[in-house]
Assembly symmetry: C2
C-alpha cells in the first residue's frame, strides 16, 4: 500500500511535527527531549536515530521547512498587490495572519534566533537575510524603492525584516482578537513607516 520511502518520510515528518508541537506548547526547543518527541510521534525513542543524528540535526531540518513557510508568505504578499498607500498596513495584517496560521514555526524561529545552538542561529539568520533580499527585489519590481541608492534600499529591506522579527515574540504572546494585538499591529506599522521615511530622506540628508 505504501512504499518504504513514503513511510519513512511520514515518520520523519511526524517527528518534526511533534517537536514543533511541543515547542508551541511552551517548552524551549533545547529542553525538548528525544523521548518526548518519539512518544508524540507514536514511535519508539530509538527510532529517532534512524532519521536524525541529533536534536540539532532536527532543528536544522525545521529551519529548512521554515524557509518554505516564509516563501509562502512572500507569495501571498505578491498576490495582494494593493494601493501603495496602504501597503504597509496591509502587509502587517498579512504577516500577523500568517503568524497565527503557522504559529509553531514562528515560535520556533523566535526562540532559536536568539537562544539556540550557534549553528541554528546562524542558519535562521541567513534565512532572514535571504528573505530580505527577496523583499528588496519585489519592492524594486513594484517601483517602490527605485529612487533610493542601491545600498540604502538593501539596508532598508533588511531593517524591515528585522523590525518584523523583533516584534514577533511579543506578537506570539497576544491573543488573536485582543486589543493589545491591535496596538502592537499599529506600533509595527508606525515603526515600518518610520524606517521607510528615514530611507526616503537619507540621500537628502548630509550623509
Amino acid at each position: 500500500m505504501s512504499t518504504r520511502l513514503e513511510k519513512k518520510l511520514k515518520t520523519r515528518h511526524n517527528l518534526m511535527s511533534a517537536a514543533l508541537k511541543l515547542v508551541e506548547e511552551g517548552q524551549h526547543f533545547s529542553n525538548v527531549s528525544i523521548r518526548e518527541i518519539a512518544k508524540n510521534a507514536q514511535v519508539v525513542p530509538t527510532s529517532f536515530y534512524r532519521h536524525f543524528t541529533d536534536m540539532d540535526d532536527l532543528g536544522l531540518a525545521l529551519v529548512d521547512e521554515l524557509s518554505l513557510v516564509l516563501r509562502q508568505l512572500m507569495r501571498k504578499a505578491r498576490q495582494e498587490v494593493v494601493n501603495p498607500k496602504l501597503i504597509i498596513a496591509n502587509s502587517v495584517a498579512l504577516y500577523v495572519d500568517h503568524v497565527y496560521e503557522n504559529r509553531s514555526f514562528f515560535v520556533f524561529m523566535s526562540q532559536e534566533l536568539t537562544g539556540g545552538s550557534a549553528r541554528l542561529r546562524e542558519s535562521i539568520r541567513s534565512e532572514l537575510l535571504y528573505f530580505a533580499n527577496e523583499l528588496a527585489a519585489d519592492l524594486k519590481r513594484l517601483n517602490l524603492i527605485n529612487h533610493l541608492p542601491l545600498d540604502i534600499a538593501d539596508q532598508l529591506c533588511l531593517q524591515v525584516i528585522m523590525t518584523v522579527a523583533m516584534n514577533t515574540p511579543e506578537l506570539l504572546d497576544l491573543d488573536k482578537g485582543s486589543q493589545a494585538l491591535e496596538k502592537l499591529q499599529q506600533r509595527m506599522e508606525i515603526q515600518l513607516r518610520m524606517v521607510f521615511l528615514g530611507a526616503a530622506n537619507w540621500s537628502s540628508s548630509k550623509n
Copy 2:
C-alpha cells in the same frame, strides 16, 4: 567574622553568578539544572531552596540585577556628553563595550526576551520599556528631540531600544576585535540614523 546575613547574601549571589556563568558558556537558561548551579556555587543542591523557590524565581532575580546593568550603561552615556553629530556612533560604541563587559547579562537577556517563561519575558520587556522612557527623558533634556511631537518622540525611543536589542544576539556571536563586529556596528549606526531621520520627517509627511 561575618554576620549570618552577609553569608546568606554571598551564597545567593554565588548561585546567581553560577547560573549566569552556565548561560554564558552556551547553555540555555531553561536547560540549566539546579544541581549544576549548586555545584558551581560550591553548595549542596538542596541549599538552593533556601534562596529561591524555583528557577523562575532565580530568573526574576537576575532580571532585577540586569536592570542595574542597564542603569549603569545609562549613567556612562550621560557622562559622555558629546558632539550631537557623533552621538549615535559614540552611543553604539559605548553600548558594544558595555555588552562585552557584561556579556553574561546580555546573553541572558537576549535568550529570555524570546525564549523564557511568560513571566520572565514580560519582566524583561517592561525593563526595556522603562529603559526607553529613561532614554526619552535624556534626549529631551539634551534638546535633541524637542521639536518632535510627544508621542512620536516616545515611539522613536522605543524603536531605538528595540533596534539595539534586536542586534544584540548577533553582537554576542562576534569576537571583540573582529571585522564582522565592525560591520555590525556600522549597520547599527545606519539603522539608528534611519530611525531618527524617519522620526524627524514624520510631521512633515502626510500622516
